[in-house]
């Protein structure tokens, strides 16, 4: 088991954002976490990355407990994060953005190697490497956000709404990239409002409702579940 959340509860002040949440991600899987706006999907990812401290519960990654570690240590253990809304550093160049993704990487050679791999996958980023990230199109920014997270060579990639705000054609492209990354060995925990797309590439899925997991199972089963179809697939 690569990632395990056990009974995680998170509070923002008096508001309970996650309540006794447990989930697991096996090595090599794509796991989809679907749910409505405000269900706690992003909070779950922030908690794994250490931006938010849980009040209760444990998080175990690759055999180590990471529950109270600072975010920078969690990144160096091998968790990459593609934040919601892309969040590229708009006033920095594409290349500088990628360098920030490799912040925990020791040594220039390893970083150049990581950058070469990212440029191979996203040639458009190489063409624009000296351009400010804020001037990229939405799709390019999403690629940059993914490339930036890949710079630390993560074992597990957390992706928060990678399809948000993109045209349907680009959404398909991004999902193809996610699938390809997974086939090449990156485990992915995918948060999506686009449940249909997410379940189509995931192996397993969890449905999150107001801070609790209400359904889980193989992605194909969830996609066929009448409850899920009514609530999230618009069927």
């Amino acid at each position: 088991m690569l990632l395990q959340l056990e009974g995680i509860s998170v509070h923002y002040g008096a508001i309970e954002a996650l309540n006794d949440l447990s989930l697991t991600v096996e090595k090599g899987e794509i796991v989809a976490l679907i749910g409505a706006n405000g269900a706690g999907k992003s909070t779950t990812l922030w908690t794994i990355s250490g931006l938010v401290r849980p009040r209760k519960g444990r998080i175990i990654f690759d055999g180590k407990e990471i529950t109270r570690m600072p975010p920078n240590r969690i990144v160096s253990l091998g968790i990459g994060h593609v934040p919601e809304g892309r969040r590229v550093f708009a006033t920095m160049t594409v290349q500088e953005n990628l360098e920030m993704g490799a912040y925990v990487t020791k040594g220039g050679a390893a970083m150049r190697e990581a950058m070469r791999r990212v440029f191979n996958r996203f040639p458009r980023l190489e063409e624009r490497k000296n351009q400010l990230a804020g001037t990229l199109s939405g799709g390019e920014q999403q690629m940059l956000a993914i490339g930036r997270a890949l710079m630390s060579r993560p074992k597990l990639l957390l992706m928060d709404e990678p399809s948000m705000g993109l045209a349907p054609m680009l959404v398909r492209e991004i999902f193809a990239i996610i699938k390809e990354l997974n086939e090449q060995g990156t485990t992915i925990l995918l948060v999506e409002q686009n449940a249909h797309m997410a379940l189509s590439i995931a192996r397993r899925g969890y449905v999150l409702e107001t801070g609790s997991i209400t359904l889980s199972g193989p992605a194909s089963e969830l996609a066929g579940n009448p409850e899920v179809r009514r609530a999230y697939l618009g069927a």
Partner: protein, 293 residues
């Protein structure tokens, strides 16, 4: 005012303005990263002046005095951040602001107790020759100030643009949460930012102490306020803005005095602040603040 006077006052104004800029950079960098107006920053500058003075009294030359003052202020500023601001991270924005006012009062009182309230003169550390270049006169002290300020600002620019830590500073100031998701140790970046600001302010303190031949515990109050104005006029959060704002205020102040507004000397900076903010609320080079959702 004839051309000669104008040029002469420009030189004097740029000299004064570059010391404002050295202090203003600390305000603007810290604000850029943690959105805190660090009111204790002017007092770090004052401590720099006292440390530099102590070194000169012990027989050090001006370069060594500046260097030791920089190291001392670096330690002071990093300690202040650690003790007075870091524990308040994540609380409302007003809390560290109030804490910084407390630190400011503490440092002023401490130095007044230790050194007395009276201004202390600065021993002659460099022979002050006055050179005539074309129409204007420029003194050795002014040259030292201009050179030190220029070297430090270029150095700062190189650090911010080229080094890993400098890039991390820019990333953190743009988006602190995302920066930490990248594995950037945000606390280290914040400490580093305070250290950089303090180093610049320390140099400013020693230079001003030498220029005006006067060092006293409350010297950081007015200088700090004016430098803060300079940072806001230039656009708080903007590094080039702080330099521009500092020079602008220095020149305006000196020209104002030369035009007979000497008794309004200190009012000029604040008047300009109001004027600039009326027309450009985010300062000369500042970006309008975007509300994050």
């Amino acid at each position: 005012m004839d051309l000669q006077t104008l040029l002469q006052q420009m030189i004097n104004g740029i000299t004064l303005g570059s010391t404002y800029a050295l202090i203003a950079l600390g305000y603007t960098m810290v604000y850029g990263i943690i959105k805190l107006i660090n009111f204790a920053h002017g007092d770090v500058y004052m401590i720099g002046a006292f440390v530099g003075l102590a070194m000169v009294v012990m027989g050090a030359n001006i370069w060594l005095a500046i260097f030791v003052a920089m190291i001392a202020c670096l330690c002071v500023a990093v300690t202040i951040e650690r003790v007075a601001y870091r524990p308040l991270r994540g609380s409302i924005r007003l809390a560290p602001l109030i804490s910084s006012i407390g630190v400011s009062i503490f440092l002023q009182t401490l130095m007044t107790l230790m050194k007395g309230p009276q201004p202390v003169g600065f021993p002659k550390v460099i022979t002050n020759t006055i050179y005539t270049v074309g129409l204007v006169k420029i003194s050795t002290v002014q040259i030292v100030i201009l050179v030190v300020a220029a070297v430090l600002m270029i150095g700062l620019q190189l650090i911010i643009k080229r080094t890993k830590m400098g890039k991390a500073m820019r990333a953190t100031s743009e988006d602190l949460h995302t920066a930490s998701l990248m594995g950037i140790n945000v606390n280290a970046v914040i400490s580093f930012t305070f250290a950089l600001g303090a180093v610049l302010a320390a140099a400013g303190g020693v230079l001003v102490g030498m220029y005006f031949n006067s060092v006293f515990p409350l010297m950081g109050v007015m200088a700090g306020l004016k430098a803060f104005c300079a940072a806001v006029v230039g656009g708080i959060g903007s590094v080039p803005g702080a330099v521009l704002g500092g020079l602008f205020l220095g020149v305006a102040e000196v020209l104002g005095v030369a035009m007979g507004l000497g008794s309004y000397r200190d009012a000029i900076a604040f008047g300009l602040l109001i004027l600039v903010l009326l027309f450009r609320p985010s300062g000369l080079l500042g970006q309008p603040e975007q509300r994050k959702v």
